[in-house]
Symmetry: C2
Subunit: 359 residues, 2 copies
């Protein structure tokens, strides 16, 4: 198993990356001490990996239960979160309980927020089973639920005790979700690591085909970059915002269509194309960068155009983005490959870019 | 203004204690920087102090609004919390917003939890207007809402940037609420400070009559003790639990009758009597301690007997207390005046004590 260390002082932890961790691996890293474990997962993932994880955890905890939530971004809300609290309270789980998030980003975000707030905080472990969660959402301690008026508006910074990425769990992922995960993989190139972008351009088909060696390298590199960024700015006072490249436009797409219509990664992919164009228009990147990103997106099976909602509706959704300050939307833009900046842009220019790149 | 410092590293802050802070004081301590302020209060407190605070804050923030929630413990729930999120999002408050909790413990707990989770955390200031909130709930960073299956079950440890205790705001408090606050004042004696208990026995009528000098001394001493305890154990890994003297029985009373029927402080008062008796029965305190506490409670206008719910129902409610570990209820008991311990007790003994001391 490869290990990536997330250095956050007394909140530090490791990300373990390997094959067959859930079903076959003989040894696991140390698990948090606790009186009980609750595996929170969804109805899609539970039949695939619920029993294997449960069996494994029974060696460590006197009591292990599985709770399967409804699947999908549309359920990342208070009523679904409350199902976790209801289960914990109705079954007498105390504050020495360890929560395990087994699933994708939605399960991880909700389980993490439940762990952050159940009895004012219990330990939790992330076991991400989607590519998107392995390379992005399971690392760094962002937890949240959506509010009808905005995505991820209610949440907390709360770090897991451990993250375990079983690359074998990606085998059961629909191709559309692999592609969505690749959007977050691609993101790390422009914002932080030109060499990784070049590597992706040489190897993207290997990732699409889920070759374990390529996946292991990509997941580890993404976690390393995320660790460096989060280690420098855990609570998003500055640098950490660069991880949201493509996300401001992406959030508008998700909110405009209704959460869950496009996958998060798909919206981010189209959003990165818009943010790339905006970077070019503002003179931060030479012409050709947006097209280069589009080509990589297309090879990954990702969209390169946003839905036609109209520039004004995009703007309106972007104004409730968490990066907004005193009404000004702040965009993550590329300023030289491998280097991102966060700044506002004129509304009319943003509208132009959106209308050019939606179809 | 008297200042008590709460030392918690980079989360340290001051508690300012004085008279006429809201209406007349010329100078205030530094307020957190922000793009806007939202004063969260309730429909009882808003007409008394909402305008004065709003006017004061307009000197510091470009935008100040007031949100009045329904009053009472029965509203310390998710739907009411969500009114805060709805207001913030519908009116475009960004994550540089500062929340001000103006009111008692319910307003403070809910506003603090909203601050902990709105956009994953915004700064907040506590302006407690009840005695209970000034001596206990506004200091130390415990925030929470109730769940139908248990009190304060969903929450976070999240420290305010500043606490301002205006002793003059206690003038408008109903006598029943003054008494309820005195329960938390009395608590600090047995658990931490025998001299303070002796002082209370000499001065309790001055506090009941709201003499400013006596109030100033009591509020400051309570905040000092709380600061010492919380500074040693912010997240209640050990020592901090002693602040819950009387609260385990008290929570059973509140949950058994339905939240809001008895005031929190009233339930704690009857709970302290039970915990004192349990301390005697376990040989931790000499006979006479329970009676001494009863006399002080009575002079403060507080109950000394719990409601007759039956010992089994008490036990059942206490089992969902957050201090429970692997099914064992853990009680805060006095072991020599000024010294508390946390330990389990036999069920049958607890039932006996409850039935003896409920009427």
């Amino acid at each position: 198993m490869k290990n990536v260390h997330i250095g956050l002082g007394d909140r530090s932890y490791n990300v373990g990356i390997g094959v067959d961790l859930l079903h076959a691996a003989a040894s696991w890293p140390d698990l948090p001490v606790g009186t009980a474990a609750l595996i929170v997962t969804n109805t899609t993932v539970a039949p695939l990996y619920g029993a294997a994880l449960s069996e494994r955890l029974c060696r460590h905890y006197p009591r292990v239960e599985v709770l399967a939530l409804p699947d999908g971004e549309a359920h990342k809300d208070w009523p679904t979160l409350n199902l976790i609290f209801d289960h914990l309270l109705a079954n007498g789980f105390d504050r020495k309980t360890v929560l395990f998030a087994l699933g994708g980003g939605v399960v991880g975000d909700m389980t993490g927020f439940a762990a952050a707030t159940y009895m004012r905080g219990v330990p939790f472990v992330q076991i991400p089973t989607t590519l998107l969660a392995q390379v992005d959402s399971s690392v760094g301690g962002k937890t949240a639920i959506n509010h009808p008026q905005g995505k991820n508006m209610i949440g907390a910074f709360y770090q897991p005790e451990l993250v375990l990425c079983d690359l074998s769990s990606l085998a059961t992922l629909p191709q559309r979700e692999v592609a969505a995960g690749l959007a977050e993989v691609i993101k790390y190139g422009p914002i932080y690591d030109e060499a990784f972008l070049v590597w992706l351009e040489a190897n993207i088909e290997r990732l699409v085909a889920r070759e374990p060696e390529a996946l292991a390298l990509a997941v580890a590199r993404c976690c390393e970059i995320k660790a460096a960024v989060v280690g420098a700015d855990e609570r998003e006072a500055g640098l950490r915002a660069i991880l949201n490249f493509g996300h401001t436009f992406g959030h508008a797409i998700e909110a405009g269509l209704g959460f869950g219509v496009w996958l998060h990664g798909e919206a981010v992919a189209a959003g990165m194309v818009m943010a790339a164009e905006l970077s070019e228009r503002l003179g931060l990147m030479p012409t050709g960068f947006r097209l280069r990103l589009e080509k990589l997106n297309q090879r990954a099976g990702l969209p390169v155009r946003g839905p036609k909602l109209g520039g004004t509706e995009y703007l309106q959704h972007m104004r409730v983005d968490k990066k907004t300050e005193a009404g000004a939307i702040r965009f993550v833009l590329i300023h030289g490959l491998g280097h991102a900046v966060v700044k506002p842009a004129p509304d009319d220019l943003v509208v132009e870019v959106v209308e050019q790149l939606s179809a």
